[in-house]
């Protein structure tokens, strides 16, 4: 289990989707998501997703891996709270 911050973009249907950095441009990362991911929080202010991912999930460009403690520093009580 790993925790990641993934930037978010709005797709053509208006859905806020996890994104990745492709040469300085944010593009959809939906096809890169494996099964077993849970959204802990969608932070519309950043905007970004805080995701709980299985270990086989790759860390895409633009994503930041965080520990549970670091997530809880940014979002008190979000992990294990």
């Amino acid at each position: 289990m790993k925790y990641v911050y993934a930037p978010s973009i709005v797709d053509s249907d208006g859905l806020n989707i996890p994104a990745k950095d492709a040469g300085g441009e944010l593009v959809s990362a939906m096809e890169d998501l494996v099964g077993g991911i849970n959204t802990l929080k969608f932070d519309s202010n950043e905007p970004r997703y805080v995701l709980s991912c299985p270990n086989e999930q790759s860390i895409e460009p633009g994503w930041t891996e965080r520990t549970a403690e670091e997530v809880n520093t940014d979002y008190p009580g979000l992990v294990g709270g």
Partner: protein, 340 residues
């Protein structure tokens, strides 16, 4: 706990289903009932023939809007032949708002990895994987009745995601959308809608939904004349719905009704069911200057009436009622149609 609506697909075609309130978004390709061991969601003891709705890629559809509940659960049995169709626009199952374009839904986000994404409003709630070529029992427990939507997503009895999304429409209407979710053939066997009194885990527990055929006339008030033969079941219990046969009250007055029954439940199911969560009576009628409703009960219980409808002469009008009270694996189920 209460089932509020249930449906098992039979031999009705697109035109008939559309007349009953279904909506098909795209024409062409395969859109038909199919049967066969690998096409139906059933159990070994079932003595009859089951059917599933088979749809080609992107041939998605809506169930009738009338049975939609803004707070509750929807459970379906689905199977994707060969591979899932990857598209945000094609729902494996979605509980969609009536006034807008959002919903609580599951769709395939990666065909190669069989990844299914769960969405609440405009936020991704999570992902899970689902094998093609297998039957899966999917359920969404949702509340889209307020401006903050909540949902939990379930696959084969286990929770796979949950989420919330604020700033949405508070809905009183909506519809369930599915179909077209395979690159080859998408199969939908059944749908069960539960009210808000049902826990998410109960609604997610896999259940078979089986189409029953009334096998005896129970009673009638007024004078009902079968279009052919001498029994009401002889003209109303057909599968599929056939508008060419019917029973008719020529001079209807308030309170006139016709009741048929299923008194051989064990024989029709091929077993004594351990749990019977509900029974839905589906009726279709036409008429002039009348209103009517469907009703259903366990023979030892009290009728549960459905919403009143106004049939016309141009086509048939769908009316339904569901009871979840008193039913057991050996119940006699009374199905009534009554003039208001």
């Amino acid at each position: 706990m209460a089932v509020s609506w249930s449906w098992a697909f039979g031999l009705e075609d697109v035109a008939t289903l559309e007349d009953m309130g279904w909506f098909y978004h795209v024409s062409g390709s395969t859109r038909e009932p199919q049967t066969g061991a690998d096409k139906v969601y059933s159990y070994p003891a079932f003595p009859g023939t089951k059917y599933s709705w088979a749809s080609g890629p992107v041939r998605d559809f809506n169930f009738p809007a009338a049975p939609f509940v803004p707070t509750g659960s929807v459970a379906v049995a689905v199977k994707a032949d060969t591979s899932w169709y990857q598209s945000n626009a094609i729902q494996i199952i979605g509980a969609m708002e009536g006034a807008g374009t959002r919903g609580c839904r599951m769709y395939c986000s990666n065909t190669a990895s069989n990844t299914i994404t769960c969405v609440v409003g405009d936020v991704v709630a999570g992902t899970f994987t689902l094998t093609p070529d297998d039957w899966h029992y999917l359920s969404i427990n949702y509340d889209i009745s307020t401006t903050t939507w909540d949902a939990t997503f379930w696959a084969n009895g286990a929770q796979v995601a949950s989420g919330s999304n604020s700033g949405r429409n508070a809905n009183t209407t909506g519809y369930y959308r599915t179909g077209g979710f395979s690159t080859i053939l998408a199969l939908n066997a059944q749908i069960i809608v539960y009210d808000s009194g049902t826990t998410a885990s109960d609604a997610a527990a896999p259940m078979y939904c089986t189409r029953l055929t009334p096998n005896a006339d129970t009673s009638e008030t007024g004078t009902w004349a079968p279009s052919v033969g001498v029994t009401n079941i002889g003209v109303t219990a057909g599968d599929p719905l056939d508008t060419a046969t019917f029973t008719q009250e020529a001079t209807p007055s308030s309170g006139d009704n016709v009741v048929t029954e299923v008194n051989n439940l064990v024989a029709q199911l091929g077993l004594t069911a351990g749990i019977v969560r509900g029974a839905t009576n589906h009726t279709y009628s036409s008429g002039t200057a009348v209103q009517a409703f469907a009703s259903v009960k366990d023979s030892g219980g009290v009728y549960v009436d459905g919403d009143t409808i106004t049939p016309d002469v141009a086509d048939t009008t769908y009316a339904w009622a569901t009871t979840a009270t008193g039913l057991t694996g050996t119940s006699t189920i009374d199905c009534k149609y009554e003039i208001v």
